[in-house]
Subunit: 205 residues, 2 copies
């Protein structure tokens, strides 16, 4: 149960974590079998419990890391007092769509598990600090004041335009007759449009 260096890490512990990340993120907690994870990692099932005690403890770690993976990077962009709302939106859209192309299962995983998990976990994500208290949110409030609507709408809109297509990709691909590569291309195109759209929403009417 030791480890000192933190390199590319082919340690058993990290093989298990990586496998757990893949399996949990793809299938969700309830459908994931510890045996699936062990097989994916190429290790004996008992090692999972040896290193992580239980499925639930392992899941908690993966969940936390996935959530962090999701909000990392956003912090600096949203806190930056030198940039305007449109530039922030642009940067967020770019970064997130690139990230979601690489991790398409991430949002549905997080949203699904968030629904069943306790409020405590949502608090632990620290979203309130990253978003509600950011310079970004100040700018949203300013924009919302002019239109007399709740600034949360603009936050939801931005997130929706970025994230929703990935959550609904099987449906979108079906409706549009797209292959996975086509869908990715569509998301690449989308990347450049979102900030413009959000701006149009804010100025609408």
């Amino acid at each position: 149960m030791k480890k000192v260096k933190k390199e590319v890490d082919n340690t058993t512990e990290d093989k298990i974590k990586e496998a757990a990340r893949v399996v949990f993120t793809r299938k969700g907690y309830a459908a994931a079998r510890t045996r699936d994870i062990a097989e994916e990692a190429g290790i004996n099932l008992a090692l999972l419990n040896y290193y992580f005690r239980s499925k639930e403890k392992l899941f908690d770690i993966i969940m936390m890391e996935n959530v962090q993976r999701f909000i990392v990077g956003a912090k600096e962009i949203l806190a930056d007092e030198e940039t305007g709302l449109k530039e922030k939106t642009e940067k967020i859209a770019m970064r997130y769509i690139d990230m979601l192309i690489l991790n398409p299962d991430l949002p549905l995983f997080i949203l699904s598990e968030l629904r069943t998990n306790p409020d405590q976990l949502i608090d632990k994500m620290g979203l309130k600090n990253v978003i509600a208290k950011s310079n970004y949110f100040l700018q949203l409030k300013e924009a919302a004041k002019a239109q007399k609507v709740n600034p949360l709408h603009y936050f939801m809109n931005t997130l929706a335009l970025i994230v929703f297509p990935f959550v609904a990709s099987p449906m979108i691909m079906n409706v549009g007759n797209l292959k996975p590569a086509d869908f990715t291309a569509l998301m690449q195109e989308r990347k450049k449009l979102i900030a413009k759209w959000v701006e149009a929403i804010i100025k609408a009417k």
Copy 2:
């Protein structure tokens, strides 16, 4: 295993179906226990298998009905050749947000299960006919042509603005410090804004 009339239906069969709808929709297939369903329905566990053979067969029925519940009503609105794009968007937003306020778990359930289920099921939903071949989609294409973007973007945007808040409600409520009633009020406010936003998106830049 009989039944002739289809009234308010307090039959055992319908009690099970209703309980299954509640439990499956809230927890998803993998996390739902047949015992949960039996308890929710107030019936003996064996009756579930007596009436529906297996958990999976029961699930397939619920899944189909939920999907139908989701797209029913949209058909006429989207097919209507008398209405313009904005009016259709307005009607869709109104109807769907009202429906989602009553069934907030529905979209995440459908999107989650769609991801694991075979393409066949997605085909069976018949979305392509309802959407891709509708008058609505024609109008989207027209609008998209002017902007030289894929019309699917506008379809995704509309759906995203309507559905995403419900999929992400735990997060939204956390960020905005909202109680469930506050969230519902926010959605009511939103209902009237979406068509305007979508129009602004289409005309953007």
